[in-house]
Symmetry: C2
Subunit: 342 residues, 2 copies
């Protein structure tokens, strides 16, 4: 093995293993050591362990023809899928590994997504079909039942409609995520107008929404007005709906001269309610699509399970931070930090 081989192998980003004519491991580049472990140089290729990989190498030694294989990783490589090429050299074999995990995961994510969406739609559709049948049959001439059923049907259809809109928003935010928005937004005014639009929902539930704002209402951030409106709408809407027993939602806004995770000046907007909150074990999953602490309650409230997922993606697109806290029995608190225009 020459130093030159080393130089070439080390200049490449994917795992590479060079085997000698004596079937021993001659060289591994750093990605290969990271994935397959250290201390293998000089050992037989059998030390690479993966049965599919060993079969493939054995066959290349036997036939002199290049071989390919694909296998799911184990140990350090759980959650990865490797596609491997073992190509014969005049002496020995060069084994190169390609990580195809992301692609596999993309396929799996799509299937999970379809399954979730279908599940979300099936229940209300089945209910609708049942009501329609009853209204055309047994309850044909019952005006009271009709009014009640039509009311439920309307709520269900509105929720499905919200689901479709949320799916579209989410997909749009995801595709824009790499493009940072550039418009100048008056954050204080935007939050105030979201609050104004939610007061008619909060009042009948006996919930007041207060804002205390230590900054000028014309505070400016770079952002997308529609998307930031969605962020605060979703958070305050949740606080009103799930925290209604606390009777009060407190929105707080302040400027921080140096936010350590954003590495610069930032605005923090906090939405706090005084309802039941949730066990903090749920926090890491709350921003997953369709994750809910209490699915029954969410559906009853007309929820789609996508609100916080949308918030997270929009905040990411704005290069901000999103933090969730809760003390069960004592409300929940959601904080959005956005870089301030310096």
């Amino acid at each position: 093995m020459t130093t030159r081989d080393h130089q070439i192998l080390n200049a490449l980003p994917y795992p590479l293993v060079l085997l000698g004519g004596d079937q021993r491991i001659v060289a591994m580049n750093p990605p290969a050591v990271e994935r397959l472990g250290a201390g293998l140089i000089g050992r037989s290729y059998v030390s690479l362990r993966q049965p599919a990989l060993l079969d493939c190498i054995e066959q290349v030694f036997r036939t002199g023809q290049a071989g390919r294989t694909r296998y799911p990783g184990t140990g350090l490589d759980r959650d990865r899928t490797w596609s491997v090429l073992a190509a014969p050299l005049p002496e020995g074999i060069l084994v190169s590994f390609e990580d195809v995990s992301e692609l596999e995961q993309a396929g799996q994510a799509r299937r999970d997504f379809v399954a979730n969406v279908s599940h979300e739609l099936k229940t209300p559709l089945t209910a609708m079909l049942g009501f329609i049948e009853t209204l055309r049959g047994a309850a044909r001439d019952d005006a009271t039942a009709r009014e009640r059923f039509l009311g439920i049907m309307q709520r269900e259809a509105e929720r499905m409609n919200r689901l479709v809109n949320d799916l579209l928003s989410l997909s749009r935010v995801e595709s824009d995520e790499r493009m940072r928005p550039t418009a100048e937004i008056r954050l204080g005014d935007l939050v105030q107008s979201v609050i104004a639009s939610l007061r008619p929902v909060a009042e009948p539930l006996g919930v007041t929404i207060d804002i205390d704002c230590s900054v000028d209402s014309q505070t400016i951030v770079r952002g997308d007005a529609d998307q930031l409106t969605q962020v605060f709408f979703n958070l305050i809407d949740n606080a009103v709906k799930y925290g209604r027993d606390g009777k009060r939602v407190q929105v707080h806004m302040e400027r921080v001269s140096r936010d350590s995770s954003l590495r610069g000046p930032a605005y923090h907007v906090t939405v706090q309610d005084f309802g039941p909150g949730f066990d903090p074990i749920h926090i890491p999953r709350l921003t997953e699509r369709f994750y809910r602490v209490d699915s029954h309650r969410s559906r009853e409230m007309g929820g789609t399970g996508l609100g916080l997922a949308i918030v997270k993606h929009i905040v990411n697109r704005h290069r901000g931070r999103f933090r969730i806290e809760s003390t069960p029995g004592n409300g929940a608190c959601f904080t959005v930090s956005l870089p301030a225009v310096a």
Copy 2:
């Protein structure tokens, strides 16, 4: 440049370009020649043309630090996205290209999918909401209008329900596509029972479904009974719905001792109707999700636009072939070929 460098570069599956200390191209492996063109050896790296790539290489020569870039391909590489690493060697640079197109496409495909599904649902949901509102308001006491609206709402809800079921089927078939089904299926009996289940739909439309079968009804193929039922259901259902003016659907089944594309004995099942058919320019796209020749007509018939996409994926999973033909004005003909159990 040593022969050894060549050997290593040629043993790797992704494009690689080796540059010398004099900034000239010293070696390219076959994938690099295929992607970047031939005749570049000995020329300056500037001949590689891609501005993003040239900037990156220039910087590595200047700083001696590895550089990365990502750019969409042009010319031969349209539709590809490359992620590039340029790593310094003691003399020169090794440039390696990773094709990240599939991953980008997977993201795009998911977004298109969400947009399509949302679009398919929005129209019927909006209609439903309109009808519900009318039934609770203006048409509150109008029994005739009520019956008519409820009828339309039922059809729309049923179609949305079918859409959800079709989405689930499609997602299940896709995830199974690599696993070939193993059960022994009596193909003749299966097709007969699909026909029996569709006669009650065909008769009121004045359409007869005939089968002519040159093989034993107990003909056996390896397959998944539910999925093969879907295949023939979707095809015969289309023939009845879209070909109803032809008054007759002809199903034909035969054994072929050697099917050239399946390389062995096969069964061919043909579903032929005598309706308007379609212009053959549509054929390549008919098996795409949500592609329809006439969207309005499809929706009127309660179609989801997913039937032929499901057929194609199921036939692929069975290692069969699916062929579409049509003479406009003279009907359409769909042929499924499945490998026969020898």
